[in-house]
């Protein structure tokens, strides 16, 4: 560890604490806590959404995947990007028009039943926990590598920081940490990408020609199929990526932080541009790392390739750029986990405590207190899980989170907004089918069972052949909702009329 890294690291910690201090003063009500009072502008929220999306997995993971696997690494970038169109076209505006703090609020706008809200809260919490463990374990490993400190200290640092942001500054602090990080991350990525381009004299053709021969894969580096060799698995993964975003609780929550559907729309558009530009630049990060750092060095410091971007920064810009990129990666992790804590806490405190246990009769003070306790609880629980999961291969948990989001949350969102006949039973069965089928299929998949010792959690032959079950579980989620609806005679013509009018006009009583 050197002085530059420590200085930048401390600077980020201080800057985020200052933000939290000012945010805490502005966090007076439950609305402030969960949604920053709905006061973010389209630009700010767009940057924050992009920030939520550009997690360590995107920044470090995709750069590493492209460096090691060429074209196949780029699949993730494409899937994540097109996902925004799904959010923009089908989900963002109706969600903003119908909901208040959580996904369950939106579904409850149509079905005011405790079992529906409870089920929605459970699926949100499941997604948040999976996503969080993956982020925290990744964060611990990464900070261990970047700053040469023990894994458990690294997890504790990240855990304590995220708890402070959320506990005191709520959504305002979380959003501003996210916005600042998004700007820093984009700046760092642009600088590195331009430096890589300069190495190739700003000639894309020359870059591709060079990449064709420079890696150990030769020509195959630029061709699809290096990493994903099972066609159905590739398509299943692409399905989870494109549909999952529209069901991720911490992304959905971002649409409640703006004042109306118009602002929600402009924030998705802003996010689409930023994320798109970023993902294009991941090619330069990946190619640059493969060309100027080299496969062996990348794999030597982390087998998954997560160190590709920081190592490239060191090769191009020396110690300072490496320190800057490491500090930005640290900020990225902090901002994303804080958003996750907040969305997990809202499901516990708002849905389960506020609406189900207290039936919406809790005072604002009680709700706020519950929100803070829930944040603390979610943080502590995730930190403990992350400490135990250190040696496990948890990378698949991110794609599992996307799979659950696509299978359990998306069908119910779409049916609630667009299907007249849909009813309470259908809402519960849609979520139950999607959630259970994802969990069961993953637990018998090659992620959990592998004949090779150490490759997965258990040794043995996987019963289900695909690593990502989305291609089965997403249709099951839709089918569950359809069958459940038909099995029940219940109809809600009047309530659907209200949902339709509100979703399409933005009218509020």
């Amino acid at each position: 560890m050197n002085a530059t890294v420590i200085t930048l690291f401390v600077a980020i910690v201080i800057a985020t604490l200052v933000i939290t201090y000012y945010a805490a003063k502005r966090t007076q009500t439950t609305g402030d806590f969960y949604t920053a009072g709905g006061g973010l502008t389209g630009w700010q929220n767009g940057l924050a959404i992009a920030g939520d999306y550009l997690s360590a997995a995107s920044f470090l993971g995709i750069a590493g995947a492209i460096a090691l696997y060429g074209f196949d690494g780029f699949f993730y970038s494409i899937g994540f990007l097109i996902a925004y169109l799904v959010v923009m076209f089908l989900v963002a505006e109706p969600l903003r028009n119908l909901g208040k703090y959580t996904l369950a609020d939106m579904i409850s706008a149509r079905f005011d039943a405790r079992k529906v809200r409870g089920m929605a809260a459970i699926s949100s919490i499941t997604i948040v926990i999976f996503y969080m463990i993956a982020q925290l374990v990744g964060a611990g490993a990464l900070i261990q590598l970047l700053f040469h400190i023990d894994y458990w200290i690294a997890v504790l640092i990240v855990g304590v920081m995220m708890t402070i942001y959320v506990l005191f500054g709520g959504m305002t602090a979380t959003s501003w940490v996210q916005i600042i990080k998004a700007v820093l991350l984009m700046a760092g990525t642009v600088v590195i990408a331009v430096m890589v381009m300069a190495k190739f004299n700003f000639n894309m053709l020359a870059m591709f020609s060079e990449m064709r021969t420079i890696t150990s894969h030769g020509e195959n580096y630029l061709k699809p199929g290096l990493q994903y060799t099972v066609p159905l698995d590739t398509i299943s993964l692409m399905l989870a990526l494109v549909l999952g975003t529209a069901g991720l609780p911490h992304i959905l929550m971002r649409f409640f932080t703006v004042k109306n559907a118009k602002t929600a729309r402009s924030s998705v558009v802003t996010a689409t541009w930023i994320v798109g530009i970023f993902y294009i630049l991941t090619i330069f990060l990946g190619f640059g790392a493969a060309a100027f750092v080299g496969e062996e060095t990348i794999v030597a410091s982390n087998p998954a390739g997560n160190m590709a971007a920081p190592l490239l920064a060191e090769a191009l810009g020396g110690n300072f750029l490496m320190s800057f990129v490491s500090a930005v990666a640290f900020a990225t992790i902090l901002a994303v986990v804080a958003g996750l804590v907040l969305s997990g806490a809202s499901a516990f405190a708002h849905d389960i405590y506020g609406q189900i246990i207290r039936k919406g009769k809790a005072t604002d003070r009680e709700q706020m207190l519950a929100a803070r306790y829930a944040s603390l609880g979610v943080s502590i629980f995730s930190i403990i899980l992350a400490l135990f999961a250190q040696t496990m291969n948890v990378a698949f948990l991110v794609s599992l989170a996307f799979c659950v989001a696509a299978s359990a949350n998306l069908p119910v969102i779409l049916y609630t907004i667009y299907w007249k006949r849909f009813n309470t039973t259908g809402a519960v069965t849609a979520m139950a089918f999607g959630l259970l089928s994802s969990l069961i299929l993953v637990s018998i998949s090659p992620n959990v069972f592998s004949p090779v010792d150490g490759k997965a959690i258990f040794v043995g032959a996987p019963i289900f052949p695909l690593t990502n079950p989305a291609i089965i579980s997403v249709p099951l989620g839709f089918l569950g909702g359809y069958l459940g609806t038909l099995l029940s005679k219940e109809k809600d013509v009047r309530q659907f009329a209200e949902v339709q009018v509100k979703a399409n006009t933005g009218y509020r009583e």
Binding site: F71, F74, F75, I78, G79, L81, I82, Y84, L85, V86, M88, F89, L90, M204, L205, F208, S209, M211, R212, L222, K223, P224, G225, Y228, P231, T234, I235, M238, V242, K262, R265, S266, V268, V269, T272, W273, G276, Y279, I280, K489, E490, K491, D492, V493, R494, Q495, F496, A497, E498, Q500, V501, K502, N504, T505, G506, Y507, R508, E509
Partner: protein, 120 residues
């Protein structure tokens, strides 16, 4: 029978909640139905288009090899198709914003005329 009884229950509930707009009347109004139909005509075809365009990439790269042919220099068609996904995304999001401005106007009109325009 069932539908009718729930409808009746709905009416009673509605009377009890005085001041709540008659959403069914608005939902069945000509202007609202027109807005819904226009939205549908815009959203459904474009959604099908971008999903098909997207899945063509992994399907072609998994089951065929013709995308591996060079297109420009050493850049193959697979890369060009991948870049085209970005151009498509940005293009569609621009179209969406333009079209939405038009829907916003019609939605505001419905609020003004049928819901008392109290949503400012």
């Amino acid at each position: 029978m069932n539908v009718q009884s729930s409808y009746k229950r709905g009416n009673v509930k509605q009377e009890l909640q005085a001041g709540k707009p008659d959403y069914e009347k608005v939902a069945n109004s000509k202007s609202f139905q027109e807005l819904l139909a226009k939205r549908k005509r815009f959203i459904v075809p474009l959604t099908i288009f971008f999903m098909v365009f997207y899945f063509m990439l992994p399907i072609f790269t998994s089951y065929a090899t013709f995308l591996n042919k060079p297109a420009i220099g050493d850049i193959s068609w697979a890369w060009l198709f991948a870049f085209a996904q970005f151009v498509m995304t940005w293009g569609i999001s621009i179209i969406y914003v333009k079209k939405s401005v038009q829907f916003d106007k019609e939605a505001e009109d419905i609020i003004d005329k049928q819901l008392g325009g109290e949503n400012k």
